[in-house]
Every structure is written in C-alpha cells, then in structure tokens.
Symmetry: C2
Subunit: 260 residues, 2 copies
Amino acid sequence: MPSELDFTQATAGLRTLGGQRVWSLMVSLFGDLAQDEGQAIDGPVLSAMMALLQVKPEATRVALHRLRNDGWIASQKSGRISRHSLTAQGRAETVAASPRIYANPDSGPADWQLILLEKPGRNLEQLGFVQVQPRLYVGGGDLHPPEGAMPLTAETAPDWLKAQAAPEDLRVPYTALLATLETLESALPRDTRLSPLETAVLRGLIVHNWRRLVLKHPALPQPLIAQDWPGRRCHHHIAALLTRFPRPALSEIEPPRAAA
Amino acid sequence: MPSELDFTQATAGLRTLGGQRVWSLMVSLFGDLAQDEGQAIDGPVLSAMMALLQVKPEATRVALHRLRNDGWIASQKSGRISRHSLTAQGRAETVAASPRIYANPDSGPADWQLILLEKPGRNLEQLGFVQVQPRLYVGGGDLHPPEGAMPLTAETAPDWLKAQAAPEDLRVPYTALLATLETLESALPRDTRLSPLETAVLRGLIVHNWRRLVLKHPALPQPLIAQDWPGRRCHHHIAALLTRFPRPALSEIEPPRAAA
C-alpha cells in the first residue's frame, strides 16, 4: 500500500488545478460518495478525507457551515459524532448532474441534428443545443427544438463543424486537466492499491475537476466531437480512472487511527 | 383588330416601367423574335416595331449603332434593305438567358438543398445559390456545391425561410410589374386580335420587363418560393401572356404600308 506521502504527491496536480474552493470540493465528495437517500458521511471520515486533501480543519468547518446555510448539507448528531448528508435539494442537483459526470465517453446519442432559427437572439443552450452561427445550432438527436425552428439533417459532420461546435473557451482548461490526468496515471502504476479512504478522496478529486469543466457546456453527440478534442480525451481518462478505482462503500471507509 | 391607338395605350405601362434604354429593349426584341441562327429582322420591320414602341427613328439608329459596336448585332445589306441579326456572341448570351426567361412557372427543380460553408466571405451566387446567412445558402437540388461545403437537407421549407431566400430588393419592382401586367391583361380582352407586328412588339416588351428582374437573382426551386411572392405571380402572368400570344414567324411580320 503506498504511503500517505505518495498519495499526497500523486494527487497534487488535481488539488492545485484551480477551482479548489473547499465547499465546492466537499460537494463533489458528497456527490460521488453519498448521493443516495439515507447515506451520510461521519464527521471523522469527512475530516480525514479533507485532511488528505490538505484542507485545514478550520477551512473544513467554514465550508460545512456554508453548505448547511445554503441548504446543501444537513448535519445530525448521532451519539458523539456528527453525520453529514446531502439535503433533498443538494441531492436533486447532484443527481441531475450525474448523467453528464459519469457518462460513458463512447456512448451517448449517435443521432444529431442541426436546427435553423428564423431570427437570431435566442439562447438555446438551456435546451442543450450548441450555437454554430447566430441562427444555427447543433445538438443531440434526442433534443427538442423550439417551436418554429427548422430541422436540418446531414449525413456526416465535417471536421470544421466539430471544431466550431466545440467549447473553444474550455480548450485550455481541458488541456491542463488532460496533462494532470496523464501525470496522475503515471504516478499510479498498475499495482497501486489505495485504501478506501484514499479511493474516496481520489474519486472526489477526479469528479470535482471533471464536473467543473464538463458541466459548463452542453453535451455534444459523439459524431460532433473531434477525436483529438482535449475534452473527449479527458473523458476517456476520467471514465477509466473511475472504473479502475470503484466507489468504496461508506462502511468500508475508516478514519486513520490516531497516531499511537 | 384593335386600332394602333389601343395597342399603344395598352402597352403604355410596359413601355414606361423603367429600364427602357432603347438598345436594351432592342436586345429583348431580337432575343424573343430572332434567336435562332440565320434569323434576321429586316430593317423596315425593325423600324416599324420601334415606331410601335414609340421610339424615334434617330434613337433607333443610335441604338443599332451601339449594338453593332458592342458586337451584339450585325447588319447586312440585302438589296435595298438592311437585315439585322444577333452576332454569335449576342446569340450565345441570349440563349444562355432563355431558360430563365421562358421557364414554366410551375416546373423547375422540386429538389432543393441547403449548404453550410466553413467560413463566411464567399459569394456562391455565381453557382446559383442564394444566401440566407453569412455561411448558409439555399439552392436547387441540381446545383453543385463548392468543395468543403456541408450539404444539409430538410423536408419542408418554413415560410420564413422562403421569405429570407427571396430577393427582397426586387419586391418593389416585381410588385410594379405585377400591377402593370394585370392592367395590360384587362386592356387585352379575350377576343383581342393582334397583328403579327403587334404581337412581336408586345412579346418583346413582356420579355424585356421580365428579364430585367428575373435575371437579377438566381432561380429558386419551387419549394422555396412563397405563393404570394410578387415575382412568382409575375411569372404566371408572363408565361400566360407568352402562351396566349405566340411568337409570330419572322416571315409573317410585315411593316405597315406607307399611309396611302
């Protein structure tokens, strides 16, 4: 089993990639580990996970306080320890994001569509479409175009359309995440064995860095994503890592015993 | 047979609609009446036609001179009279325009296509396409899109697409022509009989006013033309009039005898 030092070093990239607000990181941990109704994370386990993430106890307390105030997390005393769980609202938002976060990178709708609007000025991102021109959008074949939109079909998407449909503003952060994931993988050789606590923290970090980017743009159907788009390459690494390090049961996770 | 006065009055609208440069009007006359190789219009017949068009002999001579200089018309003496005919170049341009001018308003390609270009800035009008957006064009299904263009298909064109594909800058002149054609038809009741000379002049005027507009924009396939588009309504009147007053044979056309 690798030492804690190795784990800290191996995850340094994911911890410093950006967007590491403690409360947001905590939401990622809960979302990956305790999304089901009735699931709760014991205070000592949460503290141990946050410590492994190099978050100071005071910062953890502030983040928990904030998440309780914002209605994301509820805490209940159970004997000597607190048990923390997602609220109904927090769970609903987490569940809504999960299909994107845990999507199989090679599945997803193979059908796609283009639609032309009569006039510019509408924003169809909320419907899941991606704008290519002021009045021209692309999206998965399963999306419902707004009334009056003209459906167009094409057999294949040329490379330039894929390039134009890609969220170009995310190229740099996706490229940075890709490099970080590749470094992480080389720091975690095949025979790596992680404790349930380490696995939970690793998964939380992976999910956290992934959701920060993937939820910023609509899902594109496979035929519209270029093979070398860094977001697609990240997706393959993310899916492989989450498969390689399966989610531990909450009951398996034990806080490290106080140093003897 | 209506008197010459009636004919002059009936055609006043077509003669004054605009674009009545004498040389251009003369090209229309030749194009309708003597397009075939070997056909020529005798000087006296041409003079009579131009007189019926209220063009003064001096203006006719100037126009003929210009058309000869520009290589459109060739004149040959045959005994006492001149015979005027389209040059090979003039014939070629006339022949090229004829499919548009004499098209059946209810035929034409039923297939249509949309194409999306990678970048804006190209002008595909020369290929017969009509621009709908900076990078989006529509056209008949028989057109050849440029390399790299993305072909799109749609089952039906919404009304707003038809409106956007229409040459809106020609709405006013088409509307004026439509009103003129309706007035002309009411001035030419069913039992109207025209002399071959009058028929030739009437056809020349009709063709002239029609080609001035129809050749200014690419042909749109039927499914992309709104029913009430004034250009389409003009087309129906034009076709009906040209059918109702068939082209006379050159040999039938006789200049009016000098007043006794």
